[in-house]
């Protein structure tokens, strides 16, 4: 379903732009990956003893797959709210540059900051990638309405997948429930590997996987935080050192 040309009268109505945004959810394979991811999140929440309303609330309010996985698995394995909050905060810093880089695509001279609050909430990796792909095909004056539609469409898909994953984990035989739970590590490992842009990203992924089993033997209660900060800092150090050697 291609979008209408930039000068088409179809773009005159903001409501129509919202609908085109919502419809664009069907135009990307990332929607399918997101659906699988949220099936896994729903199943993980079920098997970590959270309620259905709680995990639907987390999809609506947190709206970031990695943060939800970290929140559910740290709380589920007995961490305190403060420990979970620190781990989630560190994982969420990457949203800051995403918001910063997307907003110039949406602003017009008439745009007030409050018009962009909902767009900022919808920013997560999938919407961010899709904004770069789709917004150049949307007239600037309709981009906010279009992005609201796109974000709402993705949210509906993810809420449905969360509820479905939760229900499947509760009702399927153990083998299939296990298969749905495996979606989470698989989908996140592969999408993180795909997003690696430089040496520091690759090293952070590999060291992060390798250090966790070692740090978890210490039984600190903040294993994920410790191994993540250590592995990430070593990866950054290698990146910095390589830059110096080259210079």
């Amino acid at each position: 379903m291609p979008l209408p040309p930039l000068d088409s009268p179809q773009w005159h109505s903001p409501l129509r732009a919202f609908a085109w945004g919502m419809g664009s959810v069907a135009s990307t394979v990332l929607t399918l990956v997101l659906f699988a991811t949220y099936l896994g999140i729903g199943a993980l929440a079920h098997d970590s003893q959270f309620s259905l309303g709680w995990v639907l609330g987390s999809t609506l309010l947190v709206w970031a797959g990695p943060a939800q996985i970290i929140l559910i698995s740290t709380l589920g394995s007995g961490a305190t709210a403060v420990q979970a909050a620190i781990a989630v905060t560190l994982s969420a810093i990457r949203l800051f540059p995403m918001v910063v880089s997307v907003l110039p695509l949406l602003r017009t001279p008439q745009t007030k900051r409050r018009h962009l609050v909902l767009v900022a909430h919808f920013i997560a990796v999938t919407l961010w990638v899709e904004c770069y792909r789709l917004l150049p095909q949307v007239p600037r004056a309709r981009r906010i309405a279009f992005t609201h539609g796109l974000g709402s469409g993705l949210l509906i898909v993810c809420l449905a997948a969360t509820a479905l994953g939760y229900g499947l984990a509760a009702n399927l035989p153990p083998l299939f429930a296990a298969a749905i739970l495996l979606l989470t590590p698989l989908a996140f490992l592969l999408s993180t590997a795909r997003n690696c842009r430089q040496l520091s990203d690759v090293l952070a992924l590999v060291l992060g996987l390798a250090l966790f089993p070692l740090v978890s033997m210490l039984q600190t209660g903040v294993d994920v935080l410790l191994s993540g900060i250590a592995a990430g800092t070593i990866a950054y150090g290698a990146h910095w050192w390589r830059g110096r050697v080259r210079a």
């Binding site: 943060a67 979970a84 592995a231």
Partner: protein, 114 residues
């Protein structure tokens, strides 16, 4: 209703440990975003730590699996993820093909082991 949402404490933890830590960074981007260089050294470190934390959580789910995943033998769990990664590389980084490949190995392996 309380069964649907769980305890009020659980919802409060969702807001404090889930919603606020994410929303703060989004709103900071909206308010203070102008003038931050996307390639700056600080952001390279931040991205590396965020990636490593997520990698640690992936390792945690595989090593200390929740619920039904714990019923799958350890070797098969690791093997399924390794197979998924191999398919991902062989298909020129298709996430979809990698996920399907890993899932097939898990289900087929478990069925074969009985």
């Amino acid at each position: 209703m309380s069964e649907f949402f769980g305890s009020p404490q659980a919802l409060l933890i969702l807001v404090i440990a889930g919603f606020l830590p994410n929303e703060i960074w989004r709103m900071a981007g909206l308010w203070f975003g102008a003038g931050v260089d996307e390639g700056s050294e600080l952001l390279v470190w931040v991205r590396a730590v965020a990636t490593a934390i997520l990698a640690g959580v992936i390792a945690q789910i595989l090593l200390q699996p929740p619920g039904a995943l714990a019923s799958v033998p350890d070797g098969l769990r690791y093997g399924a993820v390794a197979a998924g990664f191999a398919v991902f590389i062989l298909t020129r980084r298709s996430i979809f093909a990698g996920v399907v490949g890993g899932e097939i190995v898990l289900v087929a392996g478990n069925w074969w082991l009985g």
